[in-house]
């Protein structure tokens, strides 16, 4: 479901639940279309609720563009595992991936909307985070 477009920042959705991740991705697709590379992952390696670093790395890969990738997460472990995954990327990619401090569904939709207009990684992240309760 990923169409790669060099000019657009990619969006990765990481939830504890595959259903939540997939549902959020469906909403992004319907509201924003498919100009933005989008990937989602949810669940642990056994298929239960949780997050999986290897699956997050694979999702970053699917959504990768030279413009970078933003990651939207739900609860604590999704954030910690996403940050771990970013650190495990090679040096060139590491600086082009940002974990956003934003609500997962709203953040993903706003980030994708912003990315579809060709905004930079920094702008996409900032717009998504403006939705975060302070």
């Amino acid at each position: 479901m990923t169409r790669k477009t060099a000019a657009h920042v990619g969006v990765v959705i990481v939830s504890h639940s595959t259903k939540v991740a997939e549902g959020a991705a469906d909403m992004v697709r319907q509201m924003v279309g498919d100009t933005v590379p989008l990937a989602f992952t949810g669940g642990n390696a056994d298929g239960g609720l949780g997050t999986d670093v290897a699956a997050i790395l694979a999702a970053i890969d699917r959504a990768w563009t030279p413009a970078g990738v933003v990651i939207l997460v739900d609860l604590g472990g999704a954030e910690t595992n996403s940050e771990m995954a970013v650190e495990m990327l090679d040096e060139k990619r590491r600086g082009r991936v940002a974990v956003c401090n934003a609500p997962i569904v709203e953040g993903a939709v706003i980030a994708a909307t912003e990315a579809s207009g060709g905004s930079s990684l920094e702008t996409v992240k900032r717009m998504a985070e403006e939705l975060s309760p302070q």
Binding site: L49, V53, G77, N81
Partner: protein, 200 residues
């Protein structure tokens, strides 16, 4: 350090986590999301599977191997937290550590966990065990093993009256008070198991 010792130490940690998986999950059910024991068990079963290959490597690489396995297999937040601990430990630890080198490597690993979890001691987490144990190791002196062991277990127990500020338990606020922190308990169990395995 020879291969048999490395194998014994890593196996001791894995076995104690697996043996206490139900207890850790029950603690986590009280104030978290009830997956700590299961997640840690999954991670350490993978560590046991690769133990022959891991223990054959020098200590720094063996520790990094354990860290990578935990990062990839545990699933919950404890995966990257414990994974980061072992990766950082392996980065600083020489193959045959003196007490001073162990203290230094342990302290570096604790700092890495603080950075990964954006946390510090006093927030009802594994750091409430790791930080005081690092202090005992740094102070050094006679009978270090038994003192480390006692400190770890007592420090975990001391998380009971704390209010959680980081981690899933922080969602409960005041209601987290009165419960032992599962991450502090798993840290204490592993540290005590290593002390026992060294014969300290």
């Amino acid at each position: 350090m020879d291969e048999a010792v490395r194998k014994r130490l890593i196996e001791a940690m894995a076995r104690v986590v697996i043996a206490h998986a139900e207890e850790l999950t029950e603690l986590d059910r009280q104030i978290g999301d009830g997956d700590h024991g299961l997640n840690m068990k999954r991670g350490f079963e993978a560590v046991l599977e690769s133990l022959p290959a891991t223990a054959a490597k020098p200590l720094p690489e063996a520790l990094k191997g354990v860290g990578t396995t935990l990062v990839m297999k545990v699933g919950g937040a404890s995966g990257p937290l414990y994974g980061t601990f072992f990766l950082a430990l392996g980065k600083t630890m020489p193959d045959t550590p003196t007490a001073a080198a162990l203290a230094e490597a342990f302290a570096a690993a604790v700092e890495a966990v603080k950075a990964r979890g954006k946390s510090q001691a006093g927030q009802k987490t594994m750091l409430d065990v790791l930080v005081p144990v690092a202090a005992v190791l740094s102070a050094g002196g006679e009978g270090l093993g038994p003192r480390v062991r006692a400190e770890a277990l007592a420090a975990a127990e001391a998380t009971r009256p704390m209010k959680a500020i980081r981690g899933r338990a922080s969602f409960l606020g005041e209601r987290s008070i009165g419960h032992l922190d599962p991450g502090a308990r798993s840290s204490a169990l592993m540290i005590a198991a290593v002390c026992d395995a060294i014969g300290a």
